[in-house]
């Protein structure tokens, strides 16, 4: 672990505490507040409540892990979400208390000093540090010049950095699935972290941005158990991404009753009915927004009256329009139907005309035969 003070260390904390427990106490976090956080983490990770003390003791003893945060093709929204949560929460303190050795937005160092910090952290914590990536990166076949840091391409920096990493956490939908940069027509050939990292475990914490608690929850799990959480088919922690927004939505009873907001200002919208018809992607989006909410549990998009965009899912930018109902197909359905119908009708009409002509021609060529003529042929 990099020693403090450190040239690249963002947010220099007035602490010399070696463990998280000591540092939290120095920051004025009460034992009660800390245990509450541990209980919430246990329940969020679908662990029995009896494990909360175990989490607490493990976290208290945990050495501040080194984290290298790589920001590639991203908008800094993920970092904003994490650092500008409602108030200094236990989560944000825990994040302060990891040894965040490299982070563009948060570190004071710049240029050569910043890159030096990354290299130092890599050498000092070889095989143990966590790499957090936010943002997608130009893939192996793309022009690397689309995104570089200190003259190093994103792909090269990622490959170098993960060499000695214990695990890689892809934070945000861009890092997890390609996100906005990868949306059609994907001019920079952007790929997700898991597309290029095959030899290290990759945990996807998707969302645009992801819930801060999910990021810290993953870190807490890593610190507590020294292993990675159980992942779903998209490599996301099942504890947070196991259920769909739709299944946890407080507006679900209105969906079942068939009561919908048709526009953003009708009676249904005012009464808080289901937003399916306004394009809500809740049924296909797996995330914890409906249960954990945002801004310290204040609200979340659906509660604010806006349909879920499904931002935690792959390809959500290209999934057929934010304000079109989930069942509406992508593409010009009416155009296809009418164009194909018109061509078909023309072909059908042509076939009918040909058949009539053939019939008329046969009629014209017919030579009547009398019974007497027929008898003569016998």
């Amino acid at each position: 672990m990099a020693a403090y003070p450190h040239p690249g260390r963002p947010h220099p904390l007035p602490t010399t505490a070696a463990t998280l427990g000591e540092a939290l106490r120095e920051q004025g976090v009460s034992r009660r507040g800390f245990l509450k956080f541990c209980a919430a983490t246990a329940s969020l990770m679908a662990l029995p409540p009896t494990l909360a003390p175990a989490i607490a003791s493990a976290l208290e003893q945990a050495r501040r892990p080194s984290v290298i945060w790589l920001s590639f093709q991203e908008c800094t929204g993920c970092t904003e979400a994490l650092t500008r949560s409602f108030s200094p929460t236990v989560e944000s303190l825990i994040l302060d208390l990891i040894s965040l050795d490299y982070h563009h937005t948060l570190q004071a160092a710049a240029g050569t000093a910043a890159e030096l910090a990354r290299e130092q952290a890599m050498h000092a914590n070889a095989g143990e540090y966590l790499v957090v990536v936010d943002g997608s990166l130009p893939g192996p076949r793309a022009n690397p010049g689309y995104s570089t840091i200190a003259g190093i391409s994103n792909l090269q920096m990622l490959r170098e950095t993960i060499d000695g990493a214990a695990a890689v956490v892809a934070v945000g939908t861009c890092a997890a699935f390609g996100g906005l940069p990868q949306a059609r027509p994907n001019p920079t050939g952007a790929v997700a972290v898991s597309d290029v990292v095959r030899d290290r475990p990759v945990i996807n914490v998707s969302g645009c941005p992801p819930l801060p608690m999910v990021i810290t929850g993953v870190l807490a799990q890593f610190l507590t158990f020294g292993n990675l959480p159980e992942l779903d088919e998209y490599g996301r922690p099942r504890a947070f991404f196991g259920q769909s927004i739709h299944d946890r939505c407080y507006r679900r009873p209105f969906y079942d009753k068939g009561l919908f907001a048709e526009t953003f200002d009708d009676e249904g919208a005012r009464k808080g009915w289901c937003l399916y018809r306004l394009g809500c992607k809740g049924p296909m989006a797996y995330n914890a927004c409906a249960t954990m909410k945002w801004n310290g549990g204040t609200s979340w998009p659906v509660e604010a009256g806006h349909p879920c965009l499904g931002c935690s899912e792959p390809n959500f930018w290209d999934a057929g329009g934010f304000y079109r109902a989930l069942s509406v197909p992508a593409g010009d359905t009416r155009g296809t139907l009418f164009a194909a119908g018109a061509i078909g009708a023309t072909v059908g009409a042509g076939a009918a005309v040909l058949a009539r002509q053939r019939s008329a021609a046969a009629k014209a060529e017919r030579t009547p035969v009398t019974a007497a003529e027929l008898e003569q042929t016998l």
Binding site: D247, P314, G320, S327, P329, A339, G341, A345, V353
Partner: protein, 219 residues
């Protein structure tokens, strides 16, 4: 391919392809049927054609008593799943949304639990119809591969829709993608099989009523 890619493929390019095959195939057949018309009738007309034709289109919805007595199972179960299928197709909210987005027309839909119950009945009736077809010696003899094919492509959208609604397949994009895939199959098969009766049955009924109407008799 992730389940999301699968969903986007089935409701994007594959749906457009299925729709093209459906619209092309069906319009070729319908245009041919309608433009070929009937052989010219030189006899003097004793009545109109249009009204009797339309009346017959409606009246054929009622089974005649003889048919019901001979085959009550076919009439009951057949009606049950046909009506169920149409209700589920046209009165389920997500389906109404699809129609609205395509044609700019919409109508009130049924609450989801009602559609859910109708779907369950439709599935049960379809299974019963298949068992009956397999167990009845005459029906089994008369059944062709095409009959089993159209039973399958009709049953699959219903069952996958039910699974998707109840989220019995995870993740949901896979469930929805499977449902749309089976619908695409239905659309692609429709113009080239007996499924065209969805459209041609009404033309046939009209011709039937019109011919009798012209002769001055009830059909």
């Amino acid at each position: 391919m992730t389940s999301m890619d699968f969903l986007l493929f089935t409701k994007g390019p594959l749906f457009q392809l299925a729709l093209t095959i459906f619209a092309l195939g069906l319009s070729v057949r319908l245009a041919e049927v309608l433009l070929l018309g009937r052989r010219h009738n030189y006899a003097e007309a004793r009545g109109g054609q249009w009204l009797p034709g339309l009346k017959t289109v409606w009246r054929r919805f009622y089974p005649d008593p003889g048919t019901f007595q001979r085959a009550p199972f076919d009439v009951l179960v057949g009606t049950l799943w046909h009506v169920g299928f149409v209700i589920v197709l046209l009165l389920f909210i997500p389906h109404v949304e699809l129609i609205k987005a395509t044609f700019d027309i919409a109508w009130p839909a049924l609450p989801n639990p009602v559609v859910d119950a109708v779907t369950a009945v439709t599935m049960a009736a379809l299974v019963a119809a298949l068992i009956h077809r397999l167990r009845h010696p005459v029906k089994r003899f008369l059944s062709t591969r095409e009959d089993y094919l159209i039973w399958t492509v009709t049953f699959l959208p219903v069952v996958t829709g039910y699974l998707a609604y109840h989220r019995l397949i995870n993740p949901y994009p896979l469930a929805l993608g499977l449902h749309i895939l089976t619908v695409n199959l239905f659309l692609m098969v429709l113009p080239f099989t007996k499924l065209t009766h969805i459209f041609t049955a009404f033309i046939a009924r009209w011709y039937n009523g019109a011919i009798f109407g012209r002769k001055g008799v009830q059909s």
